[in-house]
Symmetry: C2
Subunit: 138 residues, 2 copies
Amino acid sequence: MKKTVFIFGALVLALLTLFKLSKYSFVSGNTSIEFILAAIAIIFFVIGVMINRKVLHKNKTSGKEIDHKKIKQLGLSKREYEVLCEIALGLSNKEIADKLFVSESTIKTHVSNILVKLDAKRRTQAIQIAKELKIIPF
Amino acid sequence: MKKTVFIFGALVLALLTLFKLSKYSFVSGNTSIEFILAAIAIIFFVIGVMINRKVLHKNKTSGKEIDHKKIKQLGLSKREYEVLCEIALGLSNKEIADKLFVSESTIKTHVSNILVKLDAKRRTQAIQIAKELKIIPF
DNA sequence: TAAGATTTCATACTTTAGTATGAGTAGTTT
DNA sequence: AAACTACTCATACTAAAGTATGAAATCTTA
C-alpha cells in the first residue's frame, strides 16, 4: 500500500511538471507540443493500467483468500484443518498419515471429526463444502 | 472482438482529431491548451483501463472455462464425464446411480474407467486432477 | 492446579470404494 | 453384416473409508 502511495504521488508530480512545462514551451516555443502530448498520453495510459490492475487484483484475491474466521466458527482445530487440506489434495488416509508422521488411525479420527464439523457424509463432500465455505485454497 | 475493433478505432480517430485540433488552437489561440491535454489524458487513461481489462479478462475466463478438447484427449465418454462431475459434487456411488437412473455397479464400472483414464488412485485424486486439467467447472 | 481442549493411538466393526471378469444391448462405422 | 464403441449390469473379491469406544499425553486457560 505504501508503494502505491509513492508511485501515484510521483506520477501526479510528473504530471504537474509537464503541465508547467507545456506552458513554458507555449511561451518560448522551444519544446514541441507533440512531445508534451505524448508524455501525458503515456503517463495516463500507465495510470489506467495500474488502477485497473489494483481493482481486479482485489477481486481476484478475495475469491481465493481463506476465511479463517469460518474455520474457527466450525470448531476445526489446527490439525484437523491440515488433514482437510491433504484430503482436498486427493491423498488417502495412509498417505496423510505418512506425510504428517502419525498413524492411520489418528487420521481416521481426525477425518471423522472433520466430517461431523463440516456436516459431510464423505470426504468428497467435505471437499465440496470446504470449497463453498472458502476455507481451502482453490 | 468486433466491438473491440470498433471502440479502439473510434478512440484512435478521436485522438487524431485532438492532435489536429491542438495544432489549430496553437495557431488560432482560441482553445485552451489545458483542455487538449486533459482530453488526451482521459482518453489514454480509458485506453489503459480497457486494455488491462481485456488481458485480465482472458486470464479470468480461461481459468474457469472447461477444456473440452482435453476431455476427448483423455478418452472420457459422455457418461463418464457426467459421473466425474457428480463425484466432484461429493456424491456417493449409490447417490450417483439414483440420480442417473442406473445401478450402482454401473457407476462403479464408470468410476473405475475414469480413474484409469485420469491416472488417479482414488476419486478424491480424480477431482484434483480434473481441476488441474480444467475439465470440471470450479 | 484443575478443567478443558487437542492430539495421539488402538481395536473392532460397518460401510463404501474400487478391481476383475464376463456379458448383454444399442448405436455407429466400415 | 461385422467390427467397434458406449452403456449397462452382475458377481465376487480386495482395499479403503468411516464409526464407535476408550484411553493416554500434552497444552492451554481459568
